[in-house]
Amino acid sequence: MDSNRDTTGNPETTAGAVPDEHFVSQLARHHSLIRGFIGTLLPHQTDAEDVFQQTCLVLWRKWQTFDASQSFASWACGIAFYEVKNFQRVQSRDRHYFSDEVLSLIAAQQNKSLPESEQRKQALQDCIQKLDHENRKLILDCYHGPQTIQEVADQLGRSRDAIYKKLARLRLKLMDCMQQSLPSTEAGS
């Protein structure tokens, strides 16, 4: 991609695609999968959100290079992976990030299970609905709300640490719930 044979030194253009209906419907179908894929590589929500936005733009720009015989999900995740790496290179200052090696391992392992991601998303939704109201509200407040975890804790008269522990338990519970509801694919891994 870096070079071409134009002797006037004109870099080759890769842009020019217009998001057509097909693109929009593909993106709409797969957005949560792509967002989830990025989320496993970048644990911090704000980072993941930034990279997700950027990835959507890049996907659109590169849409013309998409080969329709390919899977959109794996094409998109491949591009998302490079966006994550770029992001880390540019921003790695005050947060801990994984090395490229570990990132590649995580991405590769995830790629194998991309086809089931739709079921997993549905399973998670179902499991969240099984939680009681109080726990659902806690997740809402902690994951997306105007308050800090400290504020949530104060309101409930608990310590911040207790809230973090509670969230960790809820995540494990949801993970177990999901695994029970999904057909076991590869036992033991």
Binding site: T7, L27, C56
Partner: protein, 552 residues
């Protein structure tokens, strides 16, 4: 199915520490090691993080129905509806981004249309016609950052005065900023603070100190907190809120209404306050009248004085560095744009031992203007004829290009930083694409272009940025830097010595007027430019940035 997925599992503990940002260096290494070696633990990590990120999406979709977020539709809770609404939002944001990128005449920022031979002459791109809502230009900026003094941002990327702001968080650990909303409301914020801009008439304050001046045009501007909405009916109030949710509101001039956070603005207010009046409130929402006036927050005049003082300090800091830099024996050309008067048409090469007098730059067309600071000179490149001509003799194994530049708009696909006349073997072309990529092109017999990723965003237009590109033959790599940080590394497959000869800053003279992309003039300002006959290290570049950056 995974018996190891309990909370006393070490991997889970480490992941939790990672999510809480309390993970230590050694724990991070431990987690890395586990994930590297054990595929089962890696699967556990993936499953756990997928739950985490799934919860974040679920919460975002559900919570977007909060009362302080402007709503077009009635909030509902069933997940089917939420999912489709999220998709709509997503699509509209992609479409909005499309517009932002494609409407070049509006934002000064365009995409390459892919129709190579016409770009230079056709100002608008055609892509907008195809998207359904593309009938009018859009920008997502709802405010402008007009001052920033002594700011330490909590976000990874520094914002500087001049930057356009979209809806979203402004988080500062310390310092003071002024934000002008496009509605006309002007807001001073003192850190530590976390403020979310929601719309031109609405902001949310998690904590921090805010002083809002609201002219008649922006009446109704409101600052929400988790407890109270403060609605300004003209003209000025202060709000200060600590991290526990306790705070104060005081009216400096005019009238404000306090509403409960969960109420619509049309509901009757909890209380109205007029000039001089104020209240204390706490996390439970209890309101108490202020017995004595609190110290008003900083005002605009003080902030401007602080900003001027800071600018003086930064400028003198830069001048010290500038003196040191001139002594670098590897400098081929160094223009600091500090000339004795504004009628001078020669840009003096300030390197201690210039190679020849031809390395002085001849100014063609450009106007003198101010640079990074009001007291620093700079040159404005505006017309397609504007340029600085120079000639650099010799052949170099490695080169470093460095420039402080303020891009006003990407008028065409390629914008010149420094290009050799024509493009003969060994010639380098240093330029920017309208997508925001930094490009070093080298003629190695064939054409090799080293593209950075898209690093410049529409918010970077109008602010001073520091660009460096290193061609390092010893390490066989090209590295692009933005604001002192490396943004991309590229391997040099076929190293050739670089030759410059006759060249131009801010423009290009094609050897035989081929037509395609023959206009590459820069739209912007330059106030420092250097060319080194060696590869500068990342440390050196970071130091140059620190000493030269214009703000805080």
């Amino acid at each position: 199915m995974n018996s190891s997925s309990s909370s006393d599992n070490r991997t889970v503990q480490l992941i939790d520490a990672l999510l809480q940002e309390t993970i230590s260096e050694s724990e991070q290494m431990e987690l890395e090691q586990i994930l590297k070696e054990d595929a089962d633990q890696r699967q556990l990590y993936i499953d756990y993080l997928q739950v985490h990120s799934g919860l974040a999406s679920w919460a975002a979709e559900t919570r977007d129905a909060d009362p302080w977020v402007p709503q077009h539709v009635e909030p509902r809770t069933d997940s089917q509806w939420n999912a489709s609404r999220f998709v709509l939002l997503l699509i509209s944001s992609v479409v909005a981004a499309t517009l932002l990128l494609s409407l070049s005449y509006y934002a000064g920022w365009s995409i390459g249309s892919g129709q190579e031979s016409h770009i230079a002459n056709v100002p608008e791109t055609k892509s907008s016609e195809a998207s359904p809502v593309a009938s009018e230009p859009q920008t997502d900026h709802i405010a402008l950052l007009t001052q920033a003094v002594g700011v330490e941002w909590e976000t990874p990327r520094d914002l500087q005065a001049g930057a356009g702001l979209s809806a979203g968080w402004l988080k500062l650990k310390s310092g003071k900023i002024q934000v002008e909303m496009i509605s006309g409301a002007s807001v001073l914020i003192e850190g530590p603070a976390a403020i979310k801009l929601i719309s031109p008439l609405k902001a949310f304050c998690e904590y921090g100190k805010v002083r809002a001046s609201v002219p008649e045009q922006a009446q109704g501007f409101s600052v929400a907190t988790s407890r109270l909405n403060v609605v300004d009916l003209g003209t000025e109030f202060t709000l200060s809120l600590d991290e526990t949710g306790n705070g104060q509101v005081q009216v400096i001039d005019g009238k404000v209404e306090l509403h409960a956070a969960n109420q619509q603005q049309s509901a009757p207010p909890l209380q109205s306050l007029t000039t001089g009046e104020g209240v204390n409130f706490d996390a439970q929402g209890t309101l108490n009248e202020l017995q004595e006036a609190i110290r008003p927050l900083i005002d605009l005049e003080e902030l401007s004085q602080l900003a001027a003082r800071q600018q003086e300090q930064q400028l003198s800091h830069w001048r010290e560095q500038n003196q040191r830099l001139k002594n670098d024996p590897s400098l081929l050309a160094y223009y600091d744009f500090e000339e004795p008067s504004n009628w001078v048409r020669t840009l003096k090469n300030k390197a201690r031992q210039p190679l020849s007098s031809a390395t002085d730059g001849a100014i063609v067309g450009c106007q003198w203007t101010s640079g990074r600071w009001p007291d620093k000179q700079g040159l404005e490149f505006k017309r397609t004829s504007d340029r600085v001509r120079l000639q650099i003799p010799g052949e170099y194994q490695s080169l470093t290009f460095m420039a402080w530049v303020r891009i006003e708009g990407f008028d065409r696909w390629l914008s010149s930083l420094m290009l050799t006349d024509g493009f003969k073997p060994g010639n380098p072309h240093w330029q920017l694409s309208d997508k925001g990529e930094i490009i070093l092109g080298v003629n190695t017999g064939e054409v090799k272009n080293f593209f950075s990723p898209v690093v410049l965003q529409p918010t970077d237009l109008g602010r001073w940025i520091f660009l460096v590109t290193v061609y390092d033959q010893q390490k066989r790599e090209v590295v692009h830097y933005l604001d002192g940080d490396p943004v991309s590394h590229h391997k040099i497959e076929k190293p050739v010595p670089l030759v410059i000869g006759p060249a131009e800053i801010g423009n290009w003279r094609p050897q035989n007027h081929s037509g395609a992309h023959s206009i590459r003039s820069l739209n912007g300002r330059l106030d420092e430019f250097a060319l080194f006959g060696r590869a500068l290290s990342a440390d050196e570049i970071s130091r140059l940035y620190q000493a030269g950056k214009p703000g805080s």
